[in-house]
């Protein structure tokens, strides 16, 4: 647990965070989001910038849905305003007794069906596309294992490279280095751009969920099961991407972020060499981690 702070320090902390937020908001309004800073932005009202073809399609499909839905809401709102104006007790003292209109009833059954069919086609296309990368196209595999309360990663194609990725606590966050509170880890993972990467996921204890919004990935890690998804980041979108655990997993659910660097193939190779040396001692794909079984 984080240490209890003095009341005054806490108050100052809150004020400075609010101030910082306003500054960030002002900066963002002028520049807009960029790939270099692909975490969430203050007052953001839309998706984070997409980094993969899957997320591109999600955004595009969502735009279609949004237009249809806003039109439906406006249509109903318009009808209600008209009804309020035309059919209030003053404007219309004698109510009609109409209770049926077969034509209208058919219309408001059939039109929604047509709208749903319009939605269904791209929806199914998207589902099939995002499901799994075809086997022959997979160039690399990344293994993700959820733990209470950190992620561990393995690169089966790079020998036995395996390491844990823990959150950097608030006290050690260095804003001047561009570190983001709650979205920073000690060991970031890296992936090469222009590479189709299969991600397989499981959990060692409770349910977790490995989610990276910019990649259009959100997949439960389930003990006893292996789930699969895929990533392909185009070269133009190299950068740092962040996510958070998205399935309630206990006391520190809010404190297990995900940070991924999408690097050029050369940089990735360099990173791999370095990581292999750094984690040489930890490496063991069949590592067993002790369960943290106590709630408090």
């Amino acid at each position: 647990m984080r240490p209890k702070e003095e009341g005054m320090t806490k108050y100052r902390q809150i004020v400075s965070r609010l101030f910082y937020t306003v500054l960030l908001a002002a900066a963002w309004l002028q520049t807009g989001p960029s790939f270099a800073q692909s975490g969430p932005q203050p007052w953001q009202m839309n998706f984070r910038p997409s980094a993969t073809p899957v997320m591109d399609d999600i955004v595009e499909f969502h735009n279609l849905l949004l237009v249809i839905e806003v039109l439906i809401v406006l249509f109903v709102l318009g009808l209600m305003v008209y009804i309020c104006v035309k059919f209030n007790a003053k404007a219309n003292p004698i109510p009609s007794k109409t209770t049926h209109n077969a034509f209208l009833e058919v219309v408001w059954t059939v039109i929604p069906i047509i709208i749903l069919i319009v939605i269904t086609v791209p929806s199914v296309k998207l589902l099939v596309f995002m499901d799994k990368a075809p086997k022959e196209k997979v160039e690399m595999t990344l293994k993700v294992i959820g733990h209470q309360w950190y992620w561990s990663y393995e690169y089966p194609d790079a020998g036995n490279l395996a390491f844990d990725s823990n959150i950097i606590p608030d006290e050690e966050i260095d804003v001047s280095k561009g570190q983001i509170r709650l979205l920073e880890v000690d060991n970031r993972i890296a992936i090469p751009v222009d590479t189709t990467i299969r991600v397989i996921m499981t959990s060692e204890d409770v349910l977790h969920n490995w989610a990276v919004p910019a990649f259009g990935i959100k997949m439960d890690t389930v003990p006893g099961r292996i789930n699969e998804s895929w990533i392909r980041v185009p070269a133009a979108r190299a950068g740092v991407y962040r996510g958070q655990c998205s399935e309630l997993c206990g006391v520190n659910h809010g404190y297990m972020p995900i940070v991924i660097e999408a690097k050029s193939k050369q940089d990735f190779a360099k990173w791999l060499d370095k990581a292999k040396k750094e984690f040489a001692n930890e490496a063991s794909p069949t590592k067993v981690v002790q369960k943290d079984t106590i709630v408090r």
Binding site: M1, R2, L126
Partner: protein, 549 residues
């Protein structure tokens, strides 16, 4: 038995309103109105606790960082308690136990429920469940599992204390209460309608209650089975949900959501019924497309049983399974659309009086549409990947539950309060209460769509600083909603204590159902002479039973 004995000792037989007095009147009650009142009272108490939990959550989330809730397990307990309280001890007791008990016998023209004693045990089981749930919060760390109680987090390895067992047993009691209540409702509605009130002439609130009762009867046993398996997993070494013994955590999710999805219709369908009565009353028109309305609710209930896995799009289903659940889920939009447009058509051509219940009914219709369209977004498994477990989901289900269902409750409370307590509420205060709540809940929940799109996960006690802006706005909305809720409690108290005496039918020509033919407050015994429902009125067949003229 004892009733007749007591009655014999009294000599005021001419006066048909004698009743047991003191604590016996309530604890031993077999009177549908008293039991309904007890349900609503329990719901008000739970609502205060449940709203307290949500206000604590919004206070913590108002600014980034850990402010007040330094124990994150306690935060999870609050999230869990908020969900359980609101679903099982606020919404269901008010709409089903409260309004259902009070108005089913009154509206179908029968003196009481079919099984008055079962009605009594049904309430007291729920009260027991409520006590167990509150206790679970005080047992060694509480249950921080979320209302979905997903194992393995909820099994004995990760929640070793009895807190989760308390919660499970609490739900068992609440579930048994619901099953008994459902049997009572179904029997009463099928067998005890006044002569002339055929199925196709029942008021829509009765249709809604009947459908809800069937949903309860079919869904709750599945929850009970799942809870029992979890209980034995936790205490007797079974491994239904534990992969190390051949079980599967996803199995729990299937069982839970097979109950959980019908459960959301259990909460919204009675509100459909209330809103239908109110829209018809204040438009002074019969319901438009009555049969379509009734069968739309029935088909929502049926389809609601085969869409459960849309709550589980991220568990790793194969693509065909997801396609099925996408399609099945979107089908529900069709009967829902029929209901929305039929309500609008009921108002169309009406002579609408914008009293507080009508404001709530119209607010319900509009905000249910807002929450409904985001449901279409979430139904599509492809985009759901972007929204699952984010604040977008919170915004969606609070628009349909916290807003629409609670609007249904407010709507019914203002509509029937004169009948239940005999006094009129203050119309000006009621309108203020509506507008404060309307602004509050929208400021509270609309920004959460943005937070969800930006990727903020649910159920976290602290969030990255970038989410601060909309969270602060949301918390301000929470504070406004709190004012609305407190004002409602004040109106309730003021109406009961010093409201103006209400006539039998305060709403005029539009209120045609049978509850408006009896005095306000409804006497202890009503419909001692079974009312007859005329076959025809105005030269055409009437669907909603006519009453006071």
């Amino acid at each position: 038995m004892s009733d007749t004995a007591t009655a014999a000792t009294h000599d005021d037989h001419a006066h048909h309103d004698h009743k047991p007095t003191g604590w016996k009147r309530w604890v031993y009650s077999t009177n549908h109105k008293d039991i309904g009142t007890m349900y609503i009272t329990l719901a008000v108490i739970s609502a205060i606790l449940g709203m307290g939990a949500s206000m604590a959550i919004r206070l913590e989330l108002a600014v980034p960082g850990i402010q007040f809730i330094t124990d994150t397990q306690f935060y999870n307990v609050l999230v869990t308690a908020h969900g359980f309280l609101m679903v099982f001890f606020v919404v269901m007791p008010t709409l089903i136990g409260g309004f259902g008990n009070w108005f089913i016998p009154l509206m179908i023209g029968t003196p009481d429920m079919a099984f008055p004693r079962m009605n009594n045990i049904s309430f007291w089981l729920l009260a027991g469940g409520f006590i167990l749930l509150v206790l679970s919060g005080f047992v060694q760390g509480g249950a921080g599992t979320g209302w979905t109680v997903y194992p393995p987090l909820s099994n004995a390895d990760y929640h070793p204390t009895p807190a989760v067992d308390f919660a499970i047993l609490s739900l068992h009691l609440a579930g048994a209460s619901s099953i008994l209540g459902a049997i009572n409702f179904i029997t009463t509605i099928i067998n005890m309608r006044a002569p002339g009130m055929t199925f196709h002439r029942m008021p829509l609130f009765i249709w809604a209650s009947l459908i809800t009762a069937f949903l309860l009867l079919l869904a709750i046993p599945v929850l009970a089975g799942a809870l029992t398996m979890l209980l034995t997993d936790r205490n007797f070494g079974t491994t239904f949900f534990d992969p190390s013994g051949g079980g599967d955590p996803i199995f729990w999710q299937h069982l839970f959501w097979f109950f959980g999805h019908p459960e959301v219709y259990i909460m919204i369908v009675p509100a459909f019924g209330v809103v239908s009565q109110v829209v018809s009353t204040f438009s002074k028109k019969p319901i438009f497309g009555y049969l379509g309305m009734a069968y739309a609710m029935a088909s929502i209930g049926v389809v609601g049983f085969v869409v459960w896995a849309h709550h589980m799009f991220t568990v790793g289903f194969n693509v065909e399974t997801r396609i099925y659940f996408v399609l099945a889920t979107m089908v529900i939009a069709v009967p829902t659309g029929i209901k929305i447009f039929s309500w609008l058509a009921t108002m169309w051509g009406g002579s609408i009086e914008f009293k507080t219940p009508m404001l709530y009914a119209m607010g319900f219709i509009f905000l249910f549409v807002v929450g409904g369209v985001t449901g279409i977004t979430l139904a599509n498994a492809g985009v759901d990947i972007a929204f699952h477990d984010t604040y977008f989901v919170i915004a969606h289900f609070h628009y349909v539950l916290s807003i629409a269902t609670i609007y249904g409750i407010f709507c019914g409370m203002f509509y029937w309060l004169p009948k239940m307590c005999g006094n009129m509420y203050d119309e000006t205060l009621g309108q203020w209460q509506f507008w404060i709540t309307f602004i509050g809940v929208n400021v509270l929940f609309f920004p959460q769509h943005f937070l969800g799109m930006a990727g903020m996960p649910r159920r976290i006690p602290d969030y990255p600083d970038a989410y601060a802006g909309w969270n602060l706005v949301s918390s301000i909305g929470g504070a406004i909603s709190l004012v609305g809720a407190l004002l409602f409690l004040y109106i309730l108290w003021k109406t009961i204590v010093s409201g103006e005496k209400a006539p039998a039918n305060p709403w005029g020509e539009g209120a045609t159902t049978l509850e408006w033919t009896v005095d306000s407050p409804a006497p202890f015994h009503t419909h001692e002479q079974i009312p007859e429902i005329p076959e025809e009125e105005h030269g055409e067949k009437v669907y909603v039973s006519p009453g006071a003229k």
